[in-house]
């Protein structure tokens, strides 16, 4: 601290002449450098240097450089709290995500099951094309003596042997609701007239299906008795492409409990 006596703020000697003298003194000091200014020069140089250095270091990006350890600890605490909050949020969000993915998986599993079931039911109900091992039966009827009953018996036998899909002449799919009617030179199946030679495609176990037609008193027997002929071919892959239109029931509705 400068040991100069401090004048009160309302200095009595602040007169115009005094001000002139002061300015003259300053100018003289600037014009005539004295040796006593040397120390002041060194110190002022030091001050300028330090000032510029400080200003420069302040301008750098050092938000935390000048902080005391207590401030840093406080900052760190704040950041830690924030990190904890963020962690908690992450955990919450992960939980939500796993819940959602769980429910999605459940839904997908249910959907897959439903799709499989619908495929199975569609094949059995005849609303979907089907393929698989089976047999092809060719029935010739040169004398027009194979009756509707013979064919119906054949269908029943095939069903009893586990036929999963039956198709007549590549034209009509035989399902539970299929109707059979007599007609001139042939039969009407589901409203479509088909005539000999009948080609019946059946999907099921080929051996069982083939055997079941050959029982005495069975389909082959009956057709042969009517002067027709039955040829059974076992196939690795029978394709049944015709489908029936699914009809919605008018009277029945699903009952509870299943």
């Amino acid at each position: 601290m400068n040991d100069t006596p401090r004048a009160p703020l309302d200095e009595p000697h602040a007169t115009p002449g005094h001000a002139r003298r002061s300015r003259a003194k300053l100018l003289e000091a600037l014009r005539k450098p004295s040796r006593s200014q040397l120390a002041g020069a060194v110190l002022l140089g030091l001050l300028g240097f330090a000032m510029v250095t400080q200003v420069n270091s302040n301008r750098q990006d050092d938000t935390y450089a000048g902080l005391r350890s207590s401030d840093l600890v406080q900052l760190l605490n704040g950041l830690n709290a924030e990190a904890r909050r963020a962690d908690k949020e992450i955990a919450d969000l992960e939980q939500t995500r796993s819940q959602l993915s769980d429910s999605t998986q459940r839904r997908q599993a249910a959907l897959k099951r439903a799709t499989e079931e619908s495929t199975t039911l569609g094949i059995l109900a005849g609303t979907l094309p089907a393929q698989g091992p089976g047999i092809r039966i060719e029935v010739t009827d040169p004398k027009d003596k194979v009756t509707l009953n013979n064919l119906l018996d054949g269908v029943e036998e095939l069903r009893a042997a586990g036929a999963e899909a039956i198709e007549f002449n590549n034209d009509v799919r035989v399902v539970a609701q299929t109707s059979f009617e007599d007609a001139e030179r042939g039969v009407v199946v589901d409203g479509r007239r088909i005539s000999a030679p009948y080609v019946i495609d059946v999907i099921g176990n080929p051996d069982t299906l083939a055997t079941t037609l050959d029982f005495i008193g069975g389909f082959s027997f009956d057709v042969k008795a009517s002067d027709g002929n039955v040829k059974v071919k076992k196939l690795d892959n029978v394709k049944i492409t015709t489908v029936t239109k699914p009809g919605s029931p008018d009277f029945a509705s699903s009952a509870d409990g299943q």
Binding site: M1, N2, D3, T4, P5, R6, A7, L9, E11, A14, T15, P16, H18, A19, S22, R23, K25, L26, A29, L30, R31, K32, P33, S36, Q37, L38, A39, G40, A41, V42, L43, L44, G45, L46, L47, G48, F49, A50, M51, V52, T53, Q54, N56, S57, N58, A65, G66, R68, S70, D71
Partner: protein, 110 residues
């Protein structure tokens, strides 16, 4: 004249060299600069009062800087560094203002 040249040379040196403030000096340099400013303005006022003495100036400059740094250092050790440096800056600021007021009255008679 020499004093002004010294100031200019110091500023230029700082601008050219752009030294990094060492870690241990970081909390003290700003306070030291303010204390030195106070000493310089006090010296200028003493000069205008006609009682300037270069020895007194050197001692007051150095002791100002050292005491300011010491106060900050002590404050850091006591855990009130931030508050104490604020206090030092306030006190030195008031002194600078009063010194500059006296200088202004000397030069401009106002």
């Amino acid at each position: 004249m020499i004093a002004a040249i010294g100031l200019v040379v110091g500023i230029l040196l700082g601008l050219v060299l752009t030294p990094d403030v060492p870690q241990w000096l970081e909390p003290y340099l700003p306070i030291a600069v303010v204390a030195a400013l106070d000493a310089v303005f006090g010296a200028l006022r003493a000069f205008l009062d006609g009682i300037f003495n270069d020895k007194v100036f050197v001692i007051s400059f150095v002791s100002n800087v050292v005491i300011a740094a010491l106060i900050v250092f002590l404050g850091d050790k006591l855990g009130v560094g931030a508050q104490l440096s604020t206090g030092v800056v306030v006190v030195l600021g008031i002194r600078i203002f009063s010194n500059v007021a006296a200088i202004r009255r000397h030069i401009f008679h106002a």
